[in-house]
Symmetry: C2
Subunit: 198 residues, 2 copies
DNA sequence: TGAAATAAGTCAACATGGCTGACATAACCG
DNA sequence: CGGTTATGTCAGCCATGTTGACTTATTTCA
């Protein structure tokens, strides 16, 4: 396969320098007073894509050995970290339909990773709890991601944590922010009364 | 649907305080000298998920009106921003198979968003160029993302850009970093000799 | 108390976008 | 000329998302 470096280099040393650039750099026509140039913002968009692409790689590989996919990982993660959350909450967090969730959730339940318990105050609810098996797998999936994050934070230098946290929070839809912070506030896995039977 | 805030609150004010926590907070067993607690890292993982989830929302909605999906967006983005890149380069960037790319690429070509031209130095290559139509759509898709990024960067305060850039770069697989920086260096869409015919 | 609303589950069909495997064509390179 | 490379394509499979319709248990409220 062509080395990107080469191709890209070749691309820019092309003759046709005439078609210089219809849209120079900065802001492209319409909106003017952008503090951050449009180009810079697109670079961040690109970097975000690359970062997220690789962020999911390690767990994806592990999941294959278990016959699971990324969707299972997400469920596993949230049930493990926010033990006892309801199905509706999980749907809300994942922003998928219940039919879509149902497939992976059923598999995780069948294979003994998740147990359900009726809510005490509202017995219609099915609260979700991880089994020990789930905790082990979730931790194994999280491990490479934690390492990656720790290294990246370190590489980015002191002060990154604060900036990054604020940035990521602000990236979330404004209406969703309360929900996100509330679920994140409940991080310390609440209770583990769920049947441990894996 | 249950308000997350409620549910979560109820969850934590549960009796059963006995099952306090097998794994307090910090690091869980194995590796010791973690500067950043495991919990904090998991919070970043979660925030990253939420941020990326919402980052893709606006363009996804627009794409539906065009009968396109997120895969088309990615192709559109990279061809637009790195005009003239080869199929192999695109595959490399997206990390998907050529069969998978072929589907969306064909549609984009058929609908007049992308044109191909044989490479001059290597005529086996099919270099990809955006048409005017593609540029317009790509810009429209990018707009809400740029706004979101700009606002988030602003909200996160001065100094965020540098930290964020370094962080995101470090999140990329080490082996991939040269490729990523080389393609990003070629940002200023090289040339637009591709037939403009939309 | 009884009807409406809510939480969850399920069936069925379909769309998107990944994947593997196999094979074809054209162009490059030594 | 022969092997490698860049691209394209057929065919089928899998994971995961969607809509729509309907059921059951439970809660809420007039």
């Amino acid at each position: 396969m062509t080395d990107l470096t080469e191709t890209v280099a070749r691309g820019s040393k092309t003759p046709r320098a005439k078609a210089a650039r219809a849209k120079p750099r900065g802001n492209g026509g319409a909106r003017k007073r952008t503090f951050l140039s449009e180009t810079k913002l697109l670079e961040f968009a690109e970097l975000l894509f690359f970062a997220y692409r690789d962020f999911t790689r390690d767990p994806d590989a592990i999941l294959k050995d278990f016959g699971f996919g990324r969707a299972h990982h997400r469920v596993l993660h949230f049930v493990n970290r926010h033990s006892g959350l309801s199905v509706a909450d999980l749907l809300d967090v994942l922003t998928i339909t219940k039919q879509s969730l149902s497939r992976v959730l059923k598999q995780l339940i069948d294979k003994g990773y998740i147990v359900q318990r009726a809510g005490r105050s509202d017995r219609r609810q099915r609260l979700l709890f991880p089994t020990e098996k789930a905790r082990v797998l979730a931790e194994r999936l999280a491990a490479p991601q934690s390492v990656r994050l720790a290294e990246a934070l370190k590489a980015a230098g002191p002060g990154t944590e604060t900036h990054l946290r604020r940035f990521l929070q602000a990236m979330v839809n404004a209406e969703e922010r309360p929900k996100v912070s509330s679920i994140m506030a409940a991080s310390p896995a609440s209770l583990k009364e769920g049947g441990e039977g894996g």
